[in-house]
Subunit: 225 residues, 2 copies
DNA sequence: GCCTAGACGGTACGCCGTACCGTCTAGGCT
DNA sequence: AGCCTAGACGGTACGGCGTACCGTCTAGGC
């Protein structure tokens, strides 16, 4: 019998129970029981009751770091924008669960803080790479932090608008995201902007199969048009 | 007998015990016992064990809001800078306790998150006022957040340098703070800068007594010279 | 067919944070 | 002066989180 993984069952059970009884009224034991696992297994999969609300955070963080690692000072602008875009894309694909999480975090202060802690990790990752592109000297540290914060703030701004339903479709969200990134670039001096004008660079796409193409097509069209 | 307040005794007991045994190895009951109060009273004074590490946070937050409330779009630049300066000044006056807190937060992740949560409140306060000066429309919200984050980031940058001992004296810290605020202003467009050149405005000082003058003299001199 | 490593469920415990209790004391009213 | 109410206090009890540790079971290599 093709059972889903224990981790996935725990996440589903948690979100269902949180929606039914609320976060505080749901105990870890309740979640474990509905997921069909022991309380011990819950804490093996997630460090705390709060962490189960953001099950893909670790994976997203490493994806961002990997994308930033491939960029150079010359390709910093597009690299930073794409790395932030990974997070947006993940939420867009997550769909309804992202909306449920948004409602949860809005009503539970502890989860709001947990989310901010995760966002802070994004900022640190961005700042670390940007600082490296700027030379890594103490004099450029503040500037790197300012840029990183601006990028993450811009991203969150668009993400929240989509979560609230102010941006109806995914492509509309992506359009707003590019506008926000442009505004961020106009307010802070991201390194490499003038050195590498976007028009001069050819676009290289790596697609595994047709589903990738379908999924990315709107973005590709937008970038080219 | 002129006993110090219970709140103050709790804070002193907590910092002493954290330095002796470490944060995790100190229980709330330990703190209450050394302070000569019941465990109940501890939680009446501080919402949690973490909050006792930042006893003046609430007061600082209201001081910032009060300072920002007196500013207008014309005086936004100096208002924002001074409001952030209130926090720096508080830490400088706090002296050794600020250093102890810094060592604590560096080694205890839970306290690091608590500190970030407090910083986030500062950002929100700044963003709210700046947003008002920008008109309070949805279009200016992102810009207000960007400016607020930049100001707070700049402040924290200087504060951390002082806490680490990289800035020896208080006046050196204040000088670095003004430099950081200038860099922030050069990266983001703080409203009111060009509309109200600093040279054209007279300086109005309100001093309660001579100690105020002594304390503020270095800043006054720097501003005028 | 055996044997070892790793994942599992179960149990016990320390401590946090909350709710609620009765007690005590300062300060206003008659 | 005597009373009386409001608020702060210490004490107790409890639910729940997160950790440590235990014995058990199962998959995979020799």
């Amino acid at each position: 019998m093709p059972e889903s993984s224990a981790r996935e069952r725990i996440v589903d059970a948690a979100f269902d129970l949180f929606a039914e009884r609320g976060y505080d009224a749901t105990t870890v034991e309740d979640i474990a029981a509905r997921a069909g696992v022991g309380r011990t297994t819950f804490f093996r999969q997630f460090r705390s009751k709060e962490h189960v609300v953001f099950p893909d955070h670790e994976q997203l963080l490493t994806a961002i770091a990997a994308r930033l690692a491939t960029a150079t000072p010359r390709t910093a602008v597009v690299g930073v924008s794409e790395a932030a875009g990974l997070v947006l894309q993940h939420y867009l694909e997550e769909g309804e669960r992202a909306r449920r999480r948004y409602r949860l975090t809005r009503s539970v202060p502890a989860l709001q803080e947990r989310e901010r802690a995760g966002i802070r990790q994004y900022e640190r990752t961005f700042a670390r790479h940007i600082h490296g592109w700027l030379g890594g000297t103490p004099e450029t540290l503040l500037r790197a932090e300012l840029i990183a914060n601006a990028v993450v703030t811009g991203h969150n701004h668009v993400l929240r608008a989509w979560l609230r339903g102010q941006l109806a479709t995914a492509s509309e969200a992506r359009r707003a995201f590019r506008a926000a990134m442009a505004e961020v670039e106009s307010h802070v001096d991201v390194p490499g902007r003038e050195a590498a004008p976007a028009e001069a660079l050819p676009a290289v796409l790596v697609l595994r199969d047709a589903s990738d193409l379908d999924r990315l097509l709107p973005q590709i069209r937008d970038l080219l048009g």
